[in-house]
């Protein structure tokens, strides 16, 4: 027996311990999300998944599901907020999509298209974020980092390595690696690490394989993210999978 809550007027059943996002995805309902990854504990930082719960806004990826909640997600008011958040993320970093290896596979870009973000909205910050190309096989392009911490958690929880961490705070916050030199080559990262594959944008790049699939034929070039995101989510009966 499981309880249900309402999502945009439709009943969603959930198991205890699931968040609104986890329950929604498991039941085949899409809520836009960026920092949430089904294999990791919800982070709750990007705020793209913001929904209205009984009239108050909350991040659905961290909000515990409860019986009887009235959740609104696909409404213009919230989609407008999401567009603004995407604009903020684009403005905060340096995203030159046409020359980016991740273009077409990038979750931020895909959300931008899907949410119909047509303009920059904010003046771009053009931060100065030097690359780390020290490692023979891996490139770090910090210009695209959205600070979602997925690589931090993947390296710590799955790889048991702590290659990545975040430093400073506010808009100076940035990614650092675990080496006295501060360089990736002096860490014990490996190509087979989980941390290599979790970045939703194009920061952690494998060298030497650039553009092997042409732009235009990549994942989100085929179908919008809202139609594909459910494929990644664990479906019933397993429901939410926590690391």
């Amino acid at each position: 027996m499981s309880d249900t809550f309402q999502l945009d007027g439709q009943p969603v059943s959930f198991e205890s311990g699931q968040t609104v996002m986890q329950a929604a995805l498991a039941a085949g309902h899409y809520i836009p999300h960026l920092c949430y990854h089904p294999e990791f504990k919800p982070h709750g930082s990007c705020k793209l998944c913001t929904v209205k719960v009984n009239g108050r806004t909350a991040a659905s990826c961290t909000m515990p599901a409860e019986a009887g909640l009235e959740v609104e997600s696909d409404i213009e008011e919230l989609n407008a907020l999401r567009r603004t958040l995407v604009q903020m993320l684009f403005a905060e970093g340096n995203h030159f999509c046409p020359s980016c290896e991740k273009s077409g596979n990038c979750v931020l870009q895909a959300l931008g298209y899907d949410l119909e973000v047509h303009s920059a909205g904010f003046r771009h910050q053009f931060p100065d974020r030097p690359l780390d190309a020290s490692h023979p096989d891996i490139l770090l392009d910090f210009n695209r980092c959205i600070l979602c911490e997925l690589c931090v958690n993947a390296s710590a929880e799955v790889d048991g390595k702590h290659v990545f961490a975040l430093a400073e705070r506010g808009n100076s916050k940035h990614l650092i690696v675990n080496a006295e030199s501060g360089l990736l080559k002096d860490t014990n990262i490996a190509l087979t690490d989980k941390a290599m594959s979790v970045c939703p944008v194009g920061v952690i790049i494998k060298k030497g394989v650039g553009f092997s699939i042409p732009i235009g034929e990549r994942r989100y070039d085929q179908r919008p993210i809202s139609e594909q995101a459910l494929d990644d989510a664990p479906r019933p009966p397993s429901g939410a999978k926590h690391e």
Binding site: K47, T57, A59, P64, T84, F122, L166, N178, D186
Partner: protein, 608 residues
């Protein structure tokens, strides 16, 4: 495992520093939850945390070194690179500025040949700014190596410059530089109490926990830290929560600009604070308590430790308190290191655990999952004092003070344009005008209630009353007279929020710095009506999607001053509806500086 490049290089540390480091680590039992305290002590000793020390600590605590860098770089007072033997930080609250702090800082930079924010070439010093240091009633203030110096004047700045040039150790500087006045202007329930220490605790021993909770509930006491949550309900929830251990935490982070009442309570009423915490321990069944003291109040540490020690000797702390077997409780002081966000309760707990002060996802709340995921009763300094008095007086007598929804008294920190700044204690329900009269303020244009995250009210609202019914407040009361430019007030607050955002969530991290740029653009005469509309858009996003109260209130200063003092903005706007933020002529400033030119030919013509 850490990579081999990370092997510690203790050889790079002088032998005496190495043994100091070992002793610090030992005194904290190599416990990673004490990381922040360890880093603070290393910084105090060495002036910064060198790379070799980072590696050494990482090894000793068996944690990755980037976790240490991650934590250290979060806090303003910790440095991974030398910031000079003397680190001078001018308190940059609007009240300091109103007392001339900016001119003082410029003079000092000239006198000592340093640029703001840069370390002098000889490595002797650096001069910068820091968020409000809680000395608003005796500013302008500064911190030198995290020690507070008040009442700065041109003469005092000169003297300080000389002491630095002569490399005089801080311990040999004139004692009156470090004098902090209490400035109690009006005492009431709390500041006028004549309780002997231990008296209330002694009288409550036989009552037992649930009776104490009941008494606090009936007293109507609500939290004094800002949110105003009913204290009795919080204690009850904590008492009822399952856990291996229960904890009591006192929030003495007092970071809200313009607030300094906790400073005075800790100075004058430390026993009452600790008595309140001990009563809370009895009520919720805690054996361990923490006082989270903001780094700016480091100077109170010895005094507070002394009071704790005396209480232990009087059997008011420790095992079998006052002879009641099984009633064990002790309090540890934990120092912050310059991060306003650590006043937010869940960020404070993260910081207590030696982490970056990032607010947690809630629920669960601290009452069930607080310190080390255990039930934790966390309250403001003043709340613990009020609770002790409510228990002492009894709920009926206590709740007769104040108003029906705001019982008891409130300490107000008055600063800004008035002849008698300081601490004023009133029963709740006092009007803004009454306080203005008492502190002697004239020609008042506006009052900022409860700090930048609170409310700015104009003259026609001075009849409003402090209390949860009308104007809730954590205690700040900054007065601005008609000579003040309210746009600059708001701009100062916006800079504060951008500086203090923890950077966790998108809206706050990006939004506060965009808001700062917009305000700077307007200040530079480049603003348009479009920018004012952008402020409203940012506000909506910040209010609805931010992770914590910082982001949710960060636009308040602008929105409130726009409401009351719109001309202060409009007089600065260009008539255009849009103007790019990019200033072509401004971009040439560096070229002009490098070539030493400032003639007309070196400037671009403004094309309107």
């Amino acid at each position: 495992m850490v990579h081999e490049a990370v092997s510690p290089s203790p050889r790079l540390l002088a032998p005496k520093d190495l043994s100091f480091l070992q002793q610090v680590l030992r005194s904290h039992a190599n416990d990673p939850t004490k990381l922040l305290q360890i880093l603070r002590e290393v910084q105090e000793h060495l002036g910064f945390i060198p790379n070799a020390a980072v590696s050494f600590i990482a090894e000793a605590l068996a944690i990755p070194r980037n976790r240490i860098e991650s934590v250290a770089s979060f806090y303003s007072f910790l440095h991974l690179r030398s910031q000079g033997t003397y680190r001078v930080l001018f308190s940059d609250n609007i009240t300091d500025r109103m007392l001339g702090s900016q001119t003082l800082m410029e003079r000092m930079c000239q006198q000592l040949w340093v640029q703001p924010g840069k370390v002098s070439e000889d490595g002797l010093l650096s001069i910068g700014t820091t968020s409000c240091t809680g000395m608003c009633d005796q500013g302008p203030a500064m911190l030198v190596n995290e020690r507070a110096i008040t009442k700065l004047t041109h003469q005092r700045i000169q003297e300080i410059g000389q002491l630095i040039r002569n490399r005089t150790p801080l311990s040999d500087w004139p004692a009156d530089f470090f004098q902090v006045e209490d400035n109690i202007q009006r005492a009431g329930l709390i500041l006028g109490n004549t309780l002997a220490y231990g008296e209330t605790l002694q009288a409550s021993l036989t009552l037992g926990g649930s009776a104490l909770v009941e008494e606090v509930k009936r007293s109507g006491l609500r939290g004094r830290g800002g949110a105003g949550y009913p204290t009795g309900l919080k204690w009850e929830a904590c008492r009822n929560a399952q856990g291996e251990q229960h904890y009591v935490v006192c929030n003495a982070d007092e970071g809200e600009p313009g607030t300094f009442k906790d400073r005075v309570l800790l100075t004058r009423q430390a026993d009452l604070v600790f008595e309140g915490m001990t009563l809370c321990a009895l009520a919720v069944g805690a054996k361990k308590g923490f006082l989270y003291l903001r780094g700016e109040y480091r100077y109170l540490l010895d005094h507070l430790k002394g009071v704790l020690q005396r209480r232990r000797e009087s059997k008011l702390l420790g095992m079998d308190i006052l002879g009641q077997s099984g009633f064990d409780f002790d309090i540890e002081i934990h120092l912050g290191a310059g991060a306003y966000i650590c006043g937010e309760e869940s960020a404070l707990i993260e910081s207590l655990e030696g982490e970056r002060g990032v607010p947690r996802n809630r629920p669960p709340f601290p009452v069930t999952h607080g310190y080390l995921q255990q039930p934790t009763a966390l309250d403001n300094v003043e709340t613990f004092c009020q609770a002790a008095l409510a228990i002492h007086m009894g709920a009926d007598q206590y709740s007769a003070i104040g108003t029906s929804k705001s019982t008891g008294s409130k300490l107000i920190s008055v600063s800004g344009d008035c002849p008698r700044p300081g601490i004023y204690e009133y029963p709740f329900g006092v009007s803004v005008q009454e306080i203005l009269n008492d502190c002697g303020a004239v020609n008042t244009r506006a009052v900022q209630i409860s700090g930048p995250s609170g409310i700015c009210i104009g003259e026609h609202e001075f009849g409003r009353k402090l209390g949860f019914e009308d104007l809730p407040t954590a205690g700040a009361f900054m007065v601005f007279d008609d000579s003040r430019d309210m746009f600059e007030v708001a701009r100062n607050f916006v800079h504060f929020f951008a500086h203090e955002s923890c950077g966790f969530c998108t809206p706050c991290r990006v939004g506060t710095s965009m808001l700062k740029q917009t305000m700077d653009k307007i200040a530079g005469g480049q603003g348009t009506h479009y920018d004012l509309a952008e402020v409203e858009n940012l506000d909506h996003v910040l209010q609805t999607t931010s992770h914590c109260g910082l982001g949710r209130t960060a636009c308040n200063p602008v929105l409130h001053t726009l409401k009351h003092f719109r001309p202060a903005y409009e007089s600065r706007l260009k008539s255009l509806s849009f103007k790019p933020a990019f200033d072509l002529d401004g971009a040439l400033a560096r070229a002009r500086q490098m070539t030493g030119r400032d003639d007309a030919g070196a400037h671009l013509k403004e094309n309107e």
